[in-house]
Symmetry: C2
Subunit: 389 residues, 2 copies
């Protein structure tokens, strides 16, 4: 059995907020129970858990709190947001190999109320020098220490090489906030912005403005993955995992590599795309909508190019022509994305892809049958092609 | 293709010491290059990396230092030593599913010279309360905060329920030190001990004496995993992964669960064993020797029982009869184990299993064709059945 015979059978989430008021363990459990109920499964059906190395919940605690007696598959993806689709990719491989039948992929975090993600650590003991510290020595001494300040380097290079402007990034933000405005689950529900608003928003890390940056959110999302065969007997119409991929590119370093040949391109996203197209047998023109990881708006443009939705440097024109609008050729981040809905490390985007294929998204794309989903760019990254079964 | 069609094609290691004098990144790279050379592969053949969440090396840095241009598979196993065989299990599933062809599983650490593993953290800022902190609230306030002090609870219960004695644990230490004494790579090469030495060694955490505890080591080990078909074309005779498994048991918490029904049994090891026997079609009597994870000597007895090599409570008699000696029915930890060779989080045990099947171990078991290997007990754990192809 290949990964093509794997499906998403259930999705679940907590509310998204800036202060959940409860523990990350509870968030993980709530989202997982919600996803199991959506699938029509119970905790005793679950054999595996997959999440991020960054997730603070111990698998043993999640299993115990859910009431799972035995787990026979568990793994984590490194490096944060780039791992979202990767958890599904790893689960799909294990299911395809016959190692496990039902896996919950999840991410739960109080990323706004309990800590703020990506803050450089300046206090406390340093137990051991790591490879990451050596990598950081190229940027941290110059004040480049947060995700925004690192992504700013690639964004500036992208502007320099291709003539892109802040307005081009702004078009991503405006469109996503427009989608979010009609999504009751979104942090920015009812709060669209104009391009002028974007241009007036304060500079966070030149050239990234406030509205180019994703939200900081509390919340959890869980995705139930199982075999397509088993999914067909469950409550929801299965959403097939037509392809899944992970990638680390050449000479990659965190979010800003001093070694890369071309920081204006998201090479790791291109490697993900190459695998997705090869494994699914599809091409970019076959995709009805995309969920492109949007920690920062420029990443959406760079991924459009890396995945082949347009040529190198063509994303600004593609967007100016309304590509990612509801009636455009490639609606993108129809839930409002992480700029508009919430920043749950890409997991909320996977849930949106499932809703679109089921046909019950708040900003439903007509006849959405094939969706490309990505997690991360400029980090160890991953992607999926999901489709109606 | 199932995981049965996956093989170990190469093994590599640095020297084992108490002070490597170089970075953990360098250790990882040295062991990986050694394993690739052993297999007759080069870094450009490698598509995946698998290690522990606890490993301090970033995959991106390891790939860059090795000269791997593109990685399309990467994952980590949680919870320390229990993940060793788990990295191979995850790699095997991905290879079986056709996601990747060649994966390096590795663990590199300066666990003696740069930090000492398992030390409770008592300084520095606490960014966020986690499920692990809640779990620790059952033990830490009573001074049970290190692996030894946690394992001591299970060991004492095992003595109480089955009448085992400190001498029974000592027989594990004496036999492993005897194996280590003839292994030039071992930390205790040329330094066997007697049962009297064991009994005279100081109490670390009652009932665990110093010689019941594994070493603290600097070093790295790498294992190259690929398809059996590809392995057949490589430098070494392939060692087949006949079965691979992971397990978290019911109500498990770290190394000492306040919720478990029977702390005298290693339930998670029993769940690993159930899967290994089922998947391999073998039974305990088919196994020529075993590598049983030995962070602490009592774990070897409890795993013998959990895996079905003897009945519950029978391990002390089994050992008294010389079971794990070179000419016994089940030679165990023939490299000297982690008590005698080095503590590389179980990875050195996997390498020993490969050497035994190849027929070039220092303490070679005659006609060793099928080896059971485990990583961890009393934590999220894993195991393999390896065999001649």
């Amino acid at each position: 059995m290949s990964s093509k015979h794997v499906a998403i059978a259930g999705i679940g989430a907590t509310e998204f907020s800036r202060d959940s008021g409860r523990s990350e363990l509870r968030l993980a459990v709530e989202a997982s129970l919600s996803a199991l109920a959506d699938a029509g499964l119970s905790p005793s059906d679950v054999g595996g858990l997959a999440t991020f190395t960054l997730d603070n919940n111990d698998e043993q605690a999640v299993a115990r709190a859910l009431g799972i007696a035995e787990l026979t598959f568990f793994c984590r993806t490194p490096a944060g947001g780039g791992g979202g689709c990767g958890t599904v990719a790893l689960a799909a491989a294990a299911i395809a190999a016959g190692v496990v039948e039902v896996v919950i992929c999840y991410r739960a975090m109080n990323e706004r109320s309990q800590y703020r993600f990506g803050q450089p650590s300046t206090v406390g003991p340093k137990l051991v020098p790591t490879s990451s510290d050596v990598d950081a020595s190229w940027s941290a001494p110059f004040g480049v220490a947060t995700p925004a300040s690192k992504m700013a380097l690639s964004a500036r290079r992208y502007m320099h090489v291709y003539g892109a402007t802040s307005e081009d990034f702004g078009r991503v933000a405006v469109t996503e906030r427009r989608y979010a405005a009609t999504n009751p689950a979104a942090g920015f529900y009812g709060r669209p912005i104009t391009l002028a608003d974007h241009q007036a928003s304060r500079m966070v890390a030149d050239p990234l403005r406030l509205y180019d940056c994703c939200q900081e959110s509390d919340g959890a999302v869980a995705i139930v993955v199982t075999s397509l065969e088993r999914a067909k007997d469950l409550r929801q119409a299965p959403v097939a995992v037509l392809a899944a991929a992970q990638a680390i590119g050449p000479n990659q370093v965190g979010m800003a590599s001093p070694y890369t040949d071309n920081p204006a391109q998201a090479v790791e996203s291109r490697i993900v795309g190459d695998q997705l197209w090869k494994r699914s047998g599809l091409k970019p023109g076959d995709i009805d909508l995309a969920i492109l990881y949007d920690h920062f708006a420029p990443a959406v443009l760079m991924q459009m190019e890396a995945l082949g939705f347009c040529g190198p440097g063509e994303a600004p024109d593609f967007l100016r022509d309304g590509a990612m609008e509801p009636d455009g050729p490639l609606p993108v981040n129809t839930h409002g994305g992480q700029l508009g809905e919430a920043y749950i490390h890409g997991f909320n985007g996977m849930a949106e892809a499932v809703r679109q294929i089921r046909g019950n998204a708040v900003n439903q794309v007509v006849n959405a049958a094939r969706v490309a989903v990505t997690s991360g760019s400029h980090v160890p990254t991953s992607g999926l092609i999901l489709g109606s079964a």
